[in-house]
Symmetry: C2
Subunit: 432 residues, 2 copies
């Protein structure tokens, strides 16, 4: 008999709504809580959706042929040959991830830190999340050595870990695990007989186009499920569209069947008109490629500028190489923050920034860390402007930091952090 599901509201979505309420109440806030991408819909996708409004049939549970074939092409162009018959589309990669955990069964290894919903979904699926830390600069991939220890210990204690979640590139750290780390993770997962669930929704938001982004599907193809969606690269969170790529072979075929069964009972099929637009996007015509490239450049410029403000205030963070997330540590300021502001932990730091200064951020504890960890996650993807016009201007500006509203937002971050760290003199000397 199941107890009512043990779950709290998604930290990112809850914080986002709190910021929206404060903004409506007239407060000046900088919403850096969620990874929502504040950029406009590309006109080609608007047109495809508008042209598909007649589509009102359910269609196949795993999505229509066009979307599945386009998704397969998307992965093939990234070195992952894909059978469209092993692609499952859903209303976002989030429900796909949840359904995958149900389909695999058993307990779930999640990296720490990691996205707020992996552990929550595991609990909803009746599993116990097993937390395994990542290595510095290797966000999203549990340290393979500690993975072995944790799984061995969990099995000895009667738990049944059957899967490990990885995020490449990573949320919340904005780092990309090295090919070597991914290879070791894949080898460990094989030895431990774990399914790898590889969340690659940030794959198109790697700043350096020549950077190698390794999927575990290259090294453990028989046991890796890859998920992605259009929420991040094309700012389509509100459209709710995601896809999963199941592995070839017996395991993959069995998982596919189970995933489709679960999808049929939970959500029936992905929204039909959105599928049509999503198929176009996954086909990656030139204007979509260019749009994503422009978004990526914008993310890089603004994320790095904000990262500089954190560094200037005395925080430390691994160089951000992808996404629009920063995960700075204020450990070096621990004594100062306690003495001057009464800030004792990550939760206190996030509260101080959010409630005192309207700088919406999330504490490390939202990502599975101890609340003692003096880190916060700041997402910079909502700083591009509040109107379509400003967002387009941000996308097309040679230097987005020269746009007054972006400059003002970045400066405000700098001012708040300077007051936090009492680095006003340092900050003003940097400006001179």
């Amino acid at each position: 008999m199941p107890e009512p599901a043990p779950v709290s509201v998604s930290a990112t979505l809850a914080a986002d709504e709190a910021m929206a309420r404060r903004r409506r109440a007239g407060e000046q806030v900088l919403p850096m809580t969620s990874g929502e991408i504040g950029l406009p819909v590309h006109p080609a996708l608007r047109e495809r959706l508008a042209a598909a409004v007649d589509e009102n049939a359910y269609g196949p549970v795993p999505g229509g042929e066009a979307l599945r074939a386009a998704s397969a092409g998307y992965w093939e162009r990234r070195g992952l040959g894909t059978d469209p018959a092993l692609v499952v589309a859903g209303p976002g990669s989030k429900p796909l991830l949840f359904a995958l955990l149900l389909a695999i069964g058993g307990d779930v290894v999640v990296p720490v830190p990691s996205w707020v919903s992996y552990a929550a979904q595991a609990r909803l699926a009746g599993a116990r999340p097993i937390a395994v830390p990542t290595l510095p600069g290797q966000g999203g991939v549990p340290d393979p050595e500690r993975l072995r220890e944790a799984v061995t210990a969990a099995r000895a204690a009667g738990q049944h870990p059957r899967s490990v979640v990885v995020t490449v590139p990573d949320n919340p750290t904005g780092t990309i695990a090295s090919p070597e780390t991914v290879r070791h993770l894949a080898a460990a997962a094989r030895r431990l007989d774990l399914v790898i669930v590889s969340d690659e929704i940030y794959r198109d938001l790697v700043y350096d186009p020549s950077a190698s982004v390794e999927s575990p599907a290259r090294h453990a193809p028989e046991r890796t499920v890859v998920t992605t969606g259009l929420t991040k690269n094309l700012a389509l969170g509100g459209w709710r569209t995601g896809v999963a790529r199941l592995p070839e072979g017996d395991l993959g075929r069995a998982l596919y069947d189970r995933l489709v069964s679960i999808a049929s009972q939970i959500w029936s099929s992905p929204t039909a008109p959105v599928q049509t637009a999503a198929a176009y996007a996954f086909g990656e015509p030139p204007e979509i490629i260019e749009h994503i490239a422009a978004s990526r450049r914008l993310h890089e410029t603004v994320a790095r500028a904000v990262a500089d403000r954190f560094t200037a205030a005395g925080a430390t963070l691994a160089p951000v190489r992808a996404t629009s997330y920063l995960y700075p540590s204020f450990e070096a300021l621990r004594g100062h923050l306690a003495r001057t502001h009464g800030i004792l932990d990550g939760d206190g730091l996030a509260r101080f920034l959010t409630e005192r200064h309207g700088l919406g951020v999330l504490p490390a504890s939202a990502f599975g860390e101890s609340r003692q960890v003096l880190r916060i996650r700041a997402a910079t993807s909502r700083l591009y402007g509040d109107t379509e016009e400003r967002r387009w201007a941000a996308l097309t500006a040679p230097d987005p930091l020269e746009l007054p509203w972006i400059r003002a937002a970045v400066d405000r971050v700098g001012t708040v952090l300077a007051s936090l760290a009492d680095t006003a003199s340092l900050s003003s000397s940097a400006q001179s």
Copy 2:
């Protein structure tokens, strides 16, 4: 540690896809498997969706204010005063029902027969479905007397039933439980301390506008959750939109919080552009009311005509009063079917009609009955034509049965049933 989720693919969706494959292969098939409504999108809704394609933000987890307020108004016009703050919108009523079972916890009483997904969702949520038969002609509502017995027995056996699902009007029987039965059910649920989950997605498809359709929310307002959507009344299955109305009071507020938390972790928010169109629809402007009324008249005409063919062949069924479902029993023909066709049970009957004659129907076992039960469910809502043009013609025809493609479909049902029952002479004499 959870085993992989015990689930099979939705019988309706699987059968629908099988029929679509056969049709693509050139076979002549009559798809009467799923409750998908084969009617066009109303132009006003097409326009609203097309005008909303810029909406790409997640928005609030329970849906935007416009949709929640419009849904509250929809219920108020049906005698259920509703606080918009207790409305949760989701990507279909199916995911809302699943999330509700997770939110309530415990085991779940489901009527027999009932929609294919209630029991499957209960199992996915880690619960055991407790089957309670309905009374003749009172489809969708477990017999209150047997509910008491079953819950008492289940509790004595260590199970923890916490909710009961009802469907008013009913799928698969097309009947409407009487106000008296609903009142008794509500009283029993209160005595047994069960939450009532009332699936009222067919509420707008009651043929007689003066018929009383009683929601358990009238009799046990403190413990009844009502769900509905636009899949049936407006043929928008592929748009994936549904809403839930939580009860006022402590239980309702707690359930609301849990439901929103679960939604935030499984699907984030309902598709934003669709919400805008759905809000318009739930506002029930005159052209939408008229469109639904036309759909209802069409369903009634065709469902009754097909019901007559079943009756002519010797099957029996309760008078259909709503939906586009028929649930005829072939018990009177049991000996004949066994001798002449080797049909021994409901599964065999469905297989014979579907595979031998291309008349896609589902066996009673798909609705939780024993496979011995010699019944099938036939949905008539896909017989209106294969093109937009024909579907519009069906909606506007003074007598849809005079349209040649509908006439041909109904006649084909009659011919197949006549051959099944060897009532060719009876059939031809009826025509003379």
